[in-house]
């Protein structure tokens, strides 16, 4: 997969490690490191994730799974949102078709207190996006609301990211 760097290329591995360390320092440090990445293959490798995410959403249009009838507006809005993520160098979510025709997206982050924090969105059309966030081990959600644009979703995601320094998957890789 595009985000995996060749194990036998230490320079590339080191570049990615710098990028991940910058991510821990915050969004601004990550952007600086990203923009100054000497090895552009790091950017290309990560950019490929956005392309794959957009392609996966586009393929949902074909109704490849039984019982799923995808909403055209949901597909377009979700694709637009992936472009936003690319522009702002934000983390690509796990993506899946929703049984009611929307596009589901999910992020999991570590928190300073060690409890995984989940953000879930279901893009139903351009102006209806179900949004929930909360701790994975809690019964319910700390936020459960309807957002009215992909821009609003991006802002919510940025706010949640600013409160959670490090993606859980990266923490696991370090252990």
């Amino acid at each position: 997969m595009g985000n995996r760097l060749p194990a036998d290329d230490p320079a590339l591995g080191a570049a990615l490690m710098r990028l991940m360390n910058a991510l821990k320092r915050g969004a601004e440090a990550f952007r600086d490191e990203w923009n100054s990445a000497a090895d552009k293959r790091v950017q290309l490798g990560m950019a490929d994730l956005y392309d794959k995410a957009a392609l996966a959403i586009d393929q949902m249009r074909k109704g490849m799974a039984p019982r799923f009838v995808m909403d055209k507006g949901a597909i377009q809005a979700a694709t637009d949102f992936i472009s936003m993520l690319r522009t702002h160098h934000m983390r690509v979510p796990k993506i899946g078709p929703s049984p009611d025709g929307g596009v589901g997206m999910s992020w999991v982050f570590g928190t300073r207190e060690g409890r995984p924090f989940e953000i879930d969105a279901v893009v139903l059309d351009w102006n209806t996006i179900e949004y929930r966030e909360g701790f994975a081990d809690a019964d319910g959600f700390t936020v459960d609301t309807i957002l009215r644009s992909t821009k609003e979703l991006q802002q919510r995601l940025l706010e949640a990211l600013s409160q959670n320094a490090q993606p859980a998957s990266d923490r696991q890789r370090e252990q």
Binding site: M1, N3, R4, L49, K52, A53, A56, I57, Q59, M60, M64, A65, P66, R67, F68, V69, V92, P93, K94, I95, G96, P97, S98, P99, D100, G101, G104, S106, D120, V122, R132, A136, D139, G140, F141, D144, S169
Partner: protein, 154 residues
Amino acid sequence: MAAAPQPGDLVIDGLLYRWVPNTDLSFDYQENKPSKLAFRPDKGESGISVFLVALLNGPGDVVYDLPGYGVCEFTAQQFLAEVRRLRERKDNKFDQDVTIHYEPTPQPVKGRAHCYIQPMPAIVQKALYKRVATMTPGFPPAPAAAGFDPERDP
């Protein structure tokens, strides 16, 4: 369930099957369990379909017309106890009465076992995929036919 259920009966015990689509966010391919969208209602629906195991020949009946889908299971007792627990906790702000009704349909093979759980708010969906439902042995979904997981190897 001792006697044969009648349409409209409340279901309070017995093992139930539910299909699991072979798509990301419906099935968690890393954890081998149902995921966030597995119990989300279809468009225009307020609940989800499940099937009484006692009225089927086996888990294959549930997915005979759904190639690639897997099957998960939970008991009505487990599910209703979890709903009670969620309702009793004041901090959940959840007070809906969730029920399982026997609602057979004319659909071949599995229609006679059809039950409907409603409503299905997000907190109950979360309880199902986090704590209540488990995959039925021998019936995992096929590899993902739709979706994307940035963590997964090709």
